[in-house]
């Protein structure tokens, strides 16, 4: 097993690139320092998706962000998935390769959702074992993102932030801090955001996600369908003040507006970053 340290830091501002904006990015220069794409959308054999990504890569640094690694699966990782991700990373030479601290798959079933983990010693050992496997296969340190969650399991041995810190320390992975997810999970699971921030090893944070959420069913839901709300900007300011160089981006997945609206939000992130 190789020993890893979090990937080199990158200071910049970017967008999650979605299909609605491909032509904008191909037609003219866009004022971003990087883009992030969903890895699985490009882990295909060939065709237009890979062609577009190659063209984007000629213009911008690209971060690969996955949703299906299922790093918390008790029965390990899919090696066909890792092989496809490795091929994509080899071709794109991404800034970062990231996924979520969650699980999706068990016993052949894949929920295609980011399901919550219990914050137990057993789950931590499982996650670290799987991260070691993924990083060995990919030959690089990954980033893992704190998830949004709508429930917490009884019997936790540690807090979410303790789990995240220990995961990063044991495996050498970096962290992708999703500020919206902190706000959503804190509200849903009743923890203090300052406690979360105090517990995160910020020297290992390499990327920040900013997004919006919506109320539903008495909880906050991580919808990514609205502008970044004030509550998220407030936590971003606190997080940003603790970060070193970091790649910050707006993540919008639904009700996607025209590109200038997202770039305006990114300018807000940029101005807060300057103040920090």
């Amino acid at each position: 097993m190789q020993a890893f340290e979090p990937p080199a830091a990158f200071q910049g501002y970017g967008l999650g690139l979605r299909r609605e904006h491909y032509q904008d990015f191909l037609a003219a220069p866009v004022a971003v320092d990087f883009v992030e794409v969903i890895s699985e959308n490009f882990m295909v054999d060939g065709g237009q998706p890979r062609h577009i990504l190659r063209q984007i890569r000629e213009r911008h640094a690209v971060a690969l962000h996955g949703v299906s690694m299922s790093i918390g699966s008790a029965d390990g990782l899919r090696h066909d998935y890792l092989a496809r991700l490795k091929l994509l990373a080899r071709e794109i030479d991404p800034l970062f390769v990231s996924d979520h601290l969650s699980w999706s798959r068990i016993a052949g079933f894949n929920s295609h959702d980011l399901l919550p983990l219990p914050y137990t010693e057993e789950a931590l050992a499982c996650v670290c074992r799987n991260i070691d496997t993924a990083q060995d296969v990919l030959g690089r340190a990954m980033l893992f993102e704190n998830p949004s969650s709508y429930l917490a399991f009884d019997g936790a041995d540690m807090t979410e932030w303790e789990f995240i810190g220990e995961m990063s320390r044991r495996t050498g992975c970096g962290l992708l801090l999703d500020v919206n997810n902190i706000v959503v999970s804190a509200s849903n699971n009743g923890f203090d955001i300052d406690d979360f921030l105090d517990g995160i090893p910020f020297d290992r944070v390499r990327q920040i996600h900013l997004a919006g959420h919506a109320p539903g069913n008495g909880l906050l839901i991580d919808t990514h369908d609205a502008p970044v709300p004030d509550s998220v900007w407030a936590v971003y300011a606190k997080a940003r003040a603790r970060c070193g160089p970091v790649a910050t981006m707006i993540e919008r997945d639904a009700n996607i507006p025209a590109l200038p609206a997202l770039l305006a939000e990114l300018d807000t992130a940029r101005s807060q970053g300057v103040r920090a």
Binding site: E40, S68, H112, G216, N217
Partner: protein, 243 residues
Amino acid sequence: MTLAQLQTGFRDRLTESAVHVPAGLAIYQNNYRSQLVGCLQESYPQLRAWLGDPAFLQVARTHIARHRPTGWTLDAYGANFGATLLAVFPDNPDLHELAWIEAALARAFVAQDAVPVVASAVQPVDWDRARLRFTPSLSLAPAATNAADIWWAMQGKANAPESRMLDRPAGVMAWRRGYVACLRSLAPLEYGALTHARADGHFGRLCDMLVAQLGESDGIAKAGSLLADWIGSELITGIDDHA
């Protein structure tokens, strides 16, 4: 409880249809089902329009109840939707063929890249021994209905024709030209020839098959014209001159 037990238990609760569940679990249940329904709607837009939303949703729910997702990518979930359609609508071959068309076009869109043979660059070969290699994006299926015409009309936002059985069983193919997924109806003779050629690869035996159907002169001429069309349509990615 071990992590594996917790996760298998959570999977079972995620997929059950209980009405009264805690709010947090209800969100995960809703996410699970809405993702799968959304995947099927996105994979089969014309079938959905043809069936209408209520009927499509009914088949989608049946599919979700029968098939738990297993692939690493959500895109794979709709691959066997045709089997559910067959079970729910056993007497509607137009629906089965429409579903096949949409699934085949989706496969072609992300199929492995391959450089097509250009007619002007074809080298002299011994055609009796020549073997044809076809693009990996090519899918072929028999056609008993006018589903391809329906698909074309709906794709072009035109009024779709009534579904009907074809006078003679024919075929349909989906493949990719450049980065564009394409669909074409095939006459019975061409469907048989293309099916044979892709499985066998041997151009000489394709000629033999067509000569047996059309006679010496017309059979050879047909093989030549089909090959020219296949090359022009970017279906051929190699012509190997060996036994």
